[in-house]
Symmetry: C2
Subunit: 516 residues, 2 copies
């Protein structure tokens, strides 16, 4: 007998039924974000923003620990800053928000128009990234080898006019951090590029419980102007890849364009080697598609705004007072504990409303542990505990476990740590099971992705690292199959055999996948 | 003999010599911010941004403790959202950044232009404040009395096209938090308005060590559309007032415009009462002009990115190793202590450079405690301590105090707490000494500010609370004297006597001052 059929899931759409629709439903039902009425821009609601605040806090600690200083640079970039870039790009056309006026006036017909008298001499661009404006600052700040390395980071909003948007994954405005560093030589800059990459890998695995493959992007996927681009790539539950963070070694090209040079120890002028690296609110999309299930989101405890929610089963009777006192005592005891290196984040939810409705609201939000406490529990010193990552019993009922209060208190911190590890292990097992090997030709590759339209996963291939026209030909073939090369993992052993695209001996390993 | 003449201050301009120029020099020499090359926008450098991060962290904790949820709303607001506002304002003209295009293309002559094909159907405004877009969200989120109060806050950048800018005080782009709340009735909304005001007052006094007067702004200084506007006002060292934070009770007007209504317990539809409140990077300007001296900034320990800096007197000899070990041990011992409710923030500055140069750099940045450690100190278990708030000895030398290491460690936390209180006491004594009373007529007021052009301070007056045309007349008279009414303090006793502007009996107290 299929026990699954008994379960009545909290969402109306399943992952298997319609993954894209399921993704939207999780975001709506977990109250993470919504459309704003402004094209391509979202409103990030408290639960979504709370997760972003956790991501910011933990990532910022890693950034600061590496000696990087936070700064803030202007939202607007003069149009002329982009002219240099445009010179090198044929048919340059960039989707960017362009500010042309600095005043609104009435049009005399009850409406408003940009004041023709207030046209800017030079239009301003809303930053799509701050490379140019930070480069100009670095040119002012760096004089001598003593000023190097110069390590800066910015937390900011940026705008890229996107035609097709999807919440968290691709929005016209998004929030991110962008690290920008300048170094005396290639080795130091490359070390910083790889430090940032490793920081992102560890962050994704340890805090987001999201297994990723850190590696170098192929030439055709490099950030324009970069000498080398690295990424972390995560597998979503539909088998597609999500690029979740990038780190670029920019060589001396950007330093030359911006004039970032220094006097070296020998008294000579030299160009800096620069890097940049960033992650964004896109990570939240990655968390949803890694950990969400048919009952909503599951938030890893490290980034959960609340790790534990206590729900008193209030009945509007005199007994409520004792129940609330019991719950408050429990809340205080939990808040005094430490888990994952920080105080436990626990909420006593006393808001009006039916306890069952509130339970399902927290289930959909993905709070790691939900405690329901009734009058009998309070009287008997018990708690009823639901682990969000193991929601259902075999009989299709929520898997509440009755426990003595003191027993629960003794293991609450460890339970949260276990959930953090379990979510990671579950995602890693799924990812590893869906990386396919042994494909030797383009035809086999095409057949593989044809066959398993529903859950294709990734394919690991040997790669001869073609460049130029040869690479372009490969990219064209992949594009026809709606496939992309994700990256060359950092730690892979040298492959044997031949590259299925060129027939030449493979020199490294790549992952090929459909991607967001 | 005037001992002062012996002191060689770290800045070239004194407060008394040229306050505006002194302000710019503090910002430059403390490396807090600089012009960005983008009109009216500044680059906030690590020391300035570090102070902002401290302000954010401490204010955010207060905001969260009040049950307010952080959200994020779009940077862009459709032009039509401002149309309603414009209907009520004759000769509406607003200085705002207007986005009219979403693409740049080459102009065929090597330059770039906004693509005429990519003109937006409706221009977008870069948010000058998020009132309208948050109001629209609240209208979606509030259905029933159970949803109230709705307490939201946003940390964001906003843009107001300013013609005359001054770093931190008035910039085209600035960083702030804006709280927006919706309530069932007037009482609840007014309580929230005053809670935010009190939060700002306590924050300014306790964390910024900046004494402020919390009170209600006169009718003519209200936020457009507000029923009541409250502010905290601080006195700068040139005697001018700085409005350092505002809190508005908006009545039902904004709810009506945005459609924020709810079903009350009786089942009827009712309009919400809303509030908004904000502080910005302007606070940093207030800190500079409250605590800075002729040697640069003095940062209150609560908001200092580093509270203690340890400077080893390195000599490029073999002894450096023992010296650094001693300093690192000291750093670790300090970092393990608590002050002002948090771990002590201590930096061991091992960068290359002369110790004296580094000392003066930290003096100008205003680090509360500077420790210089030489080889002899290390050998003898000593430290040499400089309190930034009491920099000079009578003989014109920096007032370093030699102390046994263990003695210093035993009182370091208390010393920082003492500096926090001393800075507040010093500023409060100066403020209180420069509030003038006993002025009974407009002529006396004019004479007072004429007389003391250099350090006018504030004048406390009885006020008959005129409205309409009578108030306009007063404002006109004050404007001719370059004066403004700051606010009516919350806790003042009812005054006796008459209002110097109207001759009518005074019903409340006001402060009149020059202002930023």
């Amino acid at each position: 007998m299929n026990q699954q059929t008994k379960i009545r899931h909290a969402l109306t759409v399943t992952r298997e039924g319609d993954f894209a629709q399921w993704y939207q439903e999780v975001i709506a039902e977990a109250e993470m974000a919504e459309e704003s009425g402004v094209r391509g821009c979202m409103v990030i609601k408290p639960w979504g923003y709370g997760i972003w605040e956790r991501i910011q806090k933990l990532m910022d600690a890693r950034i600061k620990a590496a000696g990087v200083d936070n700064c803030y640079f202007p939202l607007f970039i003069p149009l002329s800053y982009f002219a240099k870039e445009a010179e090198h790009v044929e048919g340059f056309a960039k989707e960017m928000a362009v500010v042309t006026h600095h005043r609104l006036i009435g049009d005399g017909k009850g409406g408003l128009v940009p004041d023709p008298e207030a046209r800017l001499e030079e239009p301003l661009i809303v930053r799509p990234t701050s490379e140019t404006v930070i480069g100009a600052a670095m040119a002012r700040w760096v004089q001598s080898w003593r000023d190097l390395p110069l390590l800066t980071n910015q937390w900011a909003n940026v705008v890229r006019w996107e035609m097709r948007t999807r919440m968290f994954l691709r929005t016209s405005e998004f929030l991110w951090q962008e690290g920008h560093t300048a170094h005396a030589d290639r080795d130091d800059a490359m070390a910083e590029t790889l430090r940032a990459l490793e920081m992102y890998r560890a962050f994704a695995e340890d805090e987001l419980a999201m297994p990723v493959i850190a590696g170098e992007k192929p030439e055709n996927e490099r950030f324009p102007g970069a000498v080398a681009t690295y990424s972390i790539e995560a597998m979503m539950q539909d088998g597609k890849a999500l690029q979740a963070g990038t780190s670029h070694y920019l060589g001396t090209g950007f330093a030359e364009a911006a004039g970032i040079q220094y006097q070296n120890r020998e008294g000579q002028q030299a160009l800096c080697h620069t890097t940049s690296w960033g992650v964004s609110t896109r990570l939240i999309g990655g968390v949803i598609m890694t950990h969400g299930d048919d009952d909503g989101l599951r938030v890893p405890p490290a980034i959960a705004p609340h790790q534990i929610v206590i729900l008193p089963m209030l009945r509007d009777t005199d007994e409520d007072e004792a129940l609330l006192a019991y719950c408050e005592d429990l809340r205080r005891a939990l808040a005094g504990q430490q888990t994952l290196g920080e105080p436990v984040r626990v909420l006593l939810d006393k808001r009006p409303g039916k306890a069952t409705q509130k339970r399902w609201a927290w289930v959909k939000k993905g709070v790691p542990l939900i405690l329901e406490i009734g009058g009998r529990d309070a009287a008997g010193g018990q708690v009823s505990v639901l682990r969000r990552d193991r929601l259902w019993r075999e009989d299709g009922k929520p898997d509440f476990a009755g426990q003595a209060r003191d027993d629960f208190l003794a293991r609450a911190a460890a339970e949260l740590e276990d959930i953090q590890l379990s979510l990671h292990a579950e995602a890693k097992a799924r990812r590893d099971a869906n990386i396919h090997r042994g494909i030797g030709t383009l035809a086999e590759l095409a057949a593989f992705f044809d066959d398993k339209a529903c859950y294709p996963g990734w394919v690991e291939l040997g790669w001869s690292r073609p460049t130029g026209a040869a690479l372009e030909e490969v990219v064209k073939q992949l594009k026809a199959l709606k496939l992309t090369i994700r990256n060359t993992p950092m730690d892979a052993a040298k492959p044997t055999g031949t590259c299925p695209f060129t027939g030449e001996p493979a020199v490294e390993t790549i992952y090929v996948a459909r991607a967001y």
